[in-house]
């Protein structure tokens, strides 16, 4: 029997068979200005020649699956003949859900996977639990780890002691990649160019130019300077989707500090925006969101846990999710934790090679582990016991 691993994120699905490699595919539908009657699903985004003004139809709201019509369309496409060609009579699935997933969403999930798609067995599990499995598989001597999963909808801090999730220590910071992109769109639109409809383009700008500052107020000063002294400022060439397919930063030595470029490209000039946007992850109160940033939330989480474990958590902070890819993220988090944690405890923040697919890889490992058969709910189990057996086995 084949096992399909699906880390079903609010922005991308990380999907693949447990004996193959992962694919990262948009978990949503799109409509474009140029072919308004057609709805593009998941990786069909590649067929859109001009993605300016791209319209997004997302199955998730605030990190929770609410639009099943859209989700089913995406799954139909992913499972179907164009992509994974799932033979449901001979396939089991491992699928991820957010922490504290609502019970009605859990029921719908079980029902759709068994009754609509007819999978042979189901394992519904938090993405963080797969990441923890990954971490403990590669670090068998460690007892505890503290996951920081910073994704599209929000950021979770989740402590694990071996395979056990320490639910009382889970913290949610309501800052994710979506908020960062929307905030960047907002300030660019106010300060220089109307880009409110260009989520797709500005998300790319964010990934290309934003970084986490190590010395926030110093970078603020530098980014205010004139001419070449301003080592923060960048000019970003926007794509026009004919001659420029993808936006890019002007190399610093080609930058024109005063006056215009002769090339006639459309330019965004980014200075404090580059680091003030990811700063929301560390200081949500900068935009009026009254909650702690990631470093303080980590300390709050660890302090809620048994004292004898606390040292282990500070030494095993593991980063997953796309926002942790901002350059400087790991260093800044480690430095802030160092200053917040008790002085006698060592602090260590680890960034896996690929923080986006880290939990998917954990699912792949889990599918081959001897414990796997104990964790799943089979068709027979479900037909006999219904939702009850899932509530028993799956702890969201």
């Amino acid at each position: 029997m084949a096992t399909l691993v699906l880390d079903n994120g609010a922005c991308t699905a990380k999907i693949g068979y447990s004996h193959e490699a992962v694919s990262i595919i948009p978990n949503c539908q799109f409509r474009s200005k140029t072919s308004r009657l057609k709805t593009f699903t998941a990786n069909q985004i590649d067929e859109i020649k001009d993605p300016s003004g791209l319209f997004f139809i997302l199955p998730f709201q605030k990190g929770y699956l609410v639009n099943w019509d859209v989700q089913r369309k995406v799954w139909d496409h992913l499972f179907g003949k164009e992509m994974f060609k799932v033979d449901f009579s001979d396939t089991s699935i491992i699928i991820t859900e957010p922490y504290f997933n609502f019970s009605s969403i859990q029921e719908s999930m079980t029902e759709i996977l068994f009754e609509e798609y007819q999978f042979q067995s189901v394992l519904r599990i938090n993405a963080g639990s797969l990441s923890a499995h990954h971490y403990f598989s590669s670090q068998p001597s460690e007892l505890c780890c503290l996951l920081v999963d910073s994704g599209f909808s929000f950021t979770h801090i989740a402590p694990y002691c071996r395979s056990k999730k320490m639910k009382e220590g889970i913290r949610r910071v309501n800052v994710g990649g979506k908020l960062l992109t929307n905030h960047l769109k907002e300030i660019i639109s106010y300060r220089q160019l109307h880009v409110m409809d260009e989520t797709h383009v500005i998300n790319q700008v964010k990934e290309d130019v934003c970084y986490v500052s190590q010395h926030f107020y110093k970078d603020m000063k530098v980014s205010q300077m004139k001419g070449e002294e301003n080592t923060v400022v960048r000019d970003y060439v926007l794509p026009d989707f004919s001659s420029i397919r993808k936006g890019f930063c002007k190399p610093p030595d080609e930058m024109v500090f005063s006056g215009k470029y002769k090339t006639g490209e459309q330019i965004l000039r980014l200075a404090n925006e580059r680091f003030a946007v990811p700063e929301m992850l560390f200081h949500p109160s900068d935009i009026g969101l009254q909650e702690t940033g990631i470093p303080e939330a980590i300390v709050d989480s660890i302090q809620s846990l048994p004292e004898e474990m606390q040292a282990h958590f500070y030494q095993n902070v593991v980063l997953t999710g796309g926002n942790t890819l901002f350059s400087g993220f790991r260093e800044r988090l480690e430095a802030e934790l160092r200053s917040l944690a008790p002085a006698h405890l060592p602090v260590s923040v680890l960034q896996p090679q690929n923080p986006i697919s880290y939990s998917w890889e954990g699912g792949k490992l889990l599918a081959h582990s001897p414990d796997y058969d104990e964790l799943i709910v089979t068709r027979d189990d479900y037909e006999e016991n219904g939702h009850f057996i899932c509530e028993e086995k799956f702890d969201m």
């Binding site: 009657l37 605030k62 609502f102 949610r172 989520t199």
Partner: protein
């Protein structure tokens, strides 16, 4: 995005109105809600002109027809509980009466660090507060821009 100003924000004869705390809070909530939006523009599909006798449909409309039929049968199949938004689902969970930890109790608490202030025009650190709306600014130039653009125009 820039909303029309209404009564509560009108400039009185010769002097600037001061927004009350409740209005400032509403304004902040709206700004934060905007950061959750999936799209700011209208759905391109909904902005199509209604097909009249002279309207020429794009060629691929034929391939789209069976899709629409499929969607309908699916709609029947999905019961009411498959069509709830986040707020409804959250209310139904009735979490305030459930055992912790849960979705509500997991929210990060307010920060104990002092708030930092940035100019709402240019984003650099700011030392001054607009007396009208409570927004921050860093210089007379930015204050000027702020007053001309957002100060009172963002108010419900």
């Amino acid at each position: 995005m820039v909303l029309e100003k209404k009564g509560s924000a009108r400039v009185e004869a010769g002097q600037r109105r001061v927004l009350d705390e409740a209005t400032r809070q509403r304004r902040l909530t709206r700004q934060l809600d905007a950061l959750e939006k999936d799209n700011f523009q209208d759905d391109p599909l909904s902005s199509l002109p209604p097909p009249g006798p002279t309207a020429r449909l794009p060629a691929f409309s034929e391939t789209e027809e069976p899709e629409k039929k499929k969607r309908k049968t699916r709609g029947d199949h999905f019961k009411q509980r498959f069509r709830k938004n986040f707020t409804t689902l959250l209310e139904e969970e009735n979490l305030s009466e459930r055992a912790e930890p849960n979705y509500l109790s997991a929210a990060a608490p307010p920060s104990s660090l002092p708030p930092r202030h940035f100019c709402c025009v240019c984003g650099f650190p700011s030392h001054y507060t607009c007396t009208t709306c409570g927004g921050r600014y860093c210089s007379s130039r930015c204050l000027c821009t702020h007053r001309e653009t957002r100060c009172l125009k963002w108010t419900l």
